[in-house]
Symmetry: C2
DNA sequence: TTGAAAGCGGTACCAA
DNA sequence: TTGGTACCGCTTTCAA
């Protein structure tokens, strides 16, 4: 039981294959008599014909599709990126091909190859392991293939990056200003390189306040909620106990909140918690989270725009779009408890 | 700057296109001399050649890819479905093509067509608007195209369905047993048809306990957290106030928890909350949610297995896999408050 | 207004 | 062990 092809339609309608193509695509400048058109349409209907996109794309050279690579399905931040890309693409009538690498370094490069092997019109990449994927990516770019990196500007391609510098400094100042001196950091990220800048600002902010950076207060956890929970338990068992926790994303912060709760402490009375991303849920948690907003939707949208521009203007100079993160204050941060 | 093709490689290596194909695919039964192989490999390397998957798939008839349609990126339940599908596929070396419809009825059918137009080897569909997509889907199935529906068994195709019947009755009995008589229902679902069975059990359970089904206690909300929050506010403003809230999924339950909090009430002291899906976060919320677990990962995994079977055995009889939801009790449900 | 045929980039059969 | 070539399903000149 094979799917019907253009030829089947042509035969049934008693026309040539070219004619079928004309009516299917409403090809400009090729007038078709109402009668023929009707016969073709009828045949299509009866056979339930739908064109083979592979063949069309092979012939025309364009696929009308953009490929998107994201690292991990578990972090809601990425879903807003996907949503942003999708919205932008859809409004231009393009399709989205989505792949996740589940934070597997080997998968990432393979996925890259698969995606580009499909000859999608452009690639939007949120890399977790830039080092691993470097060769493949560089070669693609060298071939003139439209590539946009998201959250990474280490390659010679269009890029969208969130600049966490100021906002991270702000959140640290916020915590320091509230009198916190022992600030734990739950650093659960797929690949360390992704967030080194945030780490270094965490450290330099402490240094600027004349506070020693205590390695015991930095926890390199996994990326699941459970990992955030465990990390928080570990940190809260240090003594003296930290009075604030900075968490690398909202998702892990959920786990941290639970840990505080189970130990019988309160947020923000005993422990302040601040995180990154400000995803949809942040404002609704208990208590609502102070979070550094990095607007995934906007990032996705911009990335898609860059991709479209590049498709239409292959030779325009490389562009980098920066999206400035900002701090959203809510109830999960407060003054450090008076004494310890 | 076009990407190199097989022909380019052949020319550079001084061999025929066929030979290139042989070494690329390590075609069984076609021995290639070490020398030629080396020359070809070298040419591939130098040109940075990667085969065009469209062309290959066109010729071979298989794409090694399964398409997955999900309704909505906002509900974490779907994330776990995607993850389940992906895991199953990956272990068999297949690729995943993901599309979301953002709960737009028009998009759903269009996405269906795009996906099938790509001639992926199979389609896994989580339909929100079965009525709209009926024609397209039926025709695909009639053509013998491998299709698996997830959460819907209304079509004559392989299907994975979660049976909520028992677990929903259980959660209702649980609440009724705790003395709740006014149980609100936040029914925020992309399309009503998706959860009518849960609704009817909600109603019949009440009836069986001789409790009138109060339409005022059923809130048809949207699908975002904010919607769940607003719905809860509305319900909690009824008088007499409901003492328990059943929420159609964990995501909306986050909003409901927030609403209770803001009104100054407590869960479960004043209000019990139970929801569906039992996604990763449920156990970590404040308080941990009583939830009907429908194991999205398992559903996705099973769906992928059915798809694979169907690909390999196009004529095997249609199979339906049922996944029984079960109730997970946590701290968000408790005895109804003594008096009102 | 319609049709014939070349070709997109591969695969695989058959011959050499 | 390698090469020639028909063909997958479509688009797009060019001619009729």
């Amino acid at each position: 039981m094979k799917r019907p092809t253009q030829a089947d339609v042509a035969k049934l309608a008693g026309v040539s294959r070219a004619t079928v193509s004309y009516v299917v695509n409403q090809t400009a400048g090729v007038p078709i008599s109402p009668d023929t058109r009707a016969r073709v349409l009828n045949a299509i209907e009866r056979l339930n014909y739908a064109p083979d996109i592979r063949a069309r794309s092979l012939r025309t050279g364009g696929s009308n599709t953009v490929g998107l690579l994201i690292p991990d399905l578990h972090n809601p931040h990425y879903w807003s990126i996907v949503q942003g890309v999708e919205d932008a693409l859809r409004s231009e009538g393009l399709d989205l091909l989505l792949t996740s690498t589940s934070l597997d370094p080997n998968r990432e490069e393979k996925a890259l190859q698969t995606l580009s092997g499909r000859r999608v019109d452009a690639l939007i990449l949120t890399l977790s392991f830039p080092e691993q994927s470097k060769t493949t990516l560089t070669q693609l770019a060298a071939n003139g293939y439209p590539v946009v990196t998201l959250g990474n500007s280490a390659f010679n391609v269009d890029a969208v990056i969130a600049t966490y510098r100021n906002a991270t400094a702000q959140v640290m100042d916020h915590l320091l200003g509230l009198g916190h001196t022992r600030i734990g950091f739950i650093f659960g990220v797929g690949s360390k390189e992704l967030a080194t800048n945030r780490m270094s600002i965490y450290q330099s902010s402490l240094a600027a306040a004349n506070i020693r950076v205590d390695p015991e207060l930095i926890d390199y956890s996994g990326v699941r909620i459970e990992d955030g929970y465990q990390a928080a338990l570990r940190l809260l068992n240090r003594s003296p106990r930290p009075t604030a926790l900075l968490v690398i994303n909202d998702w892990l912060a959920i786990g941290a909140l639970r840990a505080v709760d189970e130990i019988g402490l309160h947020v923000p009375g005993d422990i302040s918690i601040a995180s990154f991303d400000d995803t949809e849920m942040a404002a609704f948690l208990h208590p609502p989270l102070t979070s550094v907003r990095s607007n995934g939707h906007e990032m996705g949208h911009q990335a898609a725009s860059l991709a479209l521009e590049r498709i239409r203007q292959p030779n325009r100079p490389i562009r980098r779009v920066q999206i400035e993160a900002d701090l959203v204050l809510r109830q999960s941060t407060g003054p450090a408890p008076a004494s310890q």
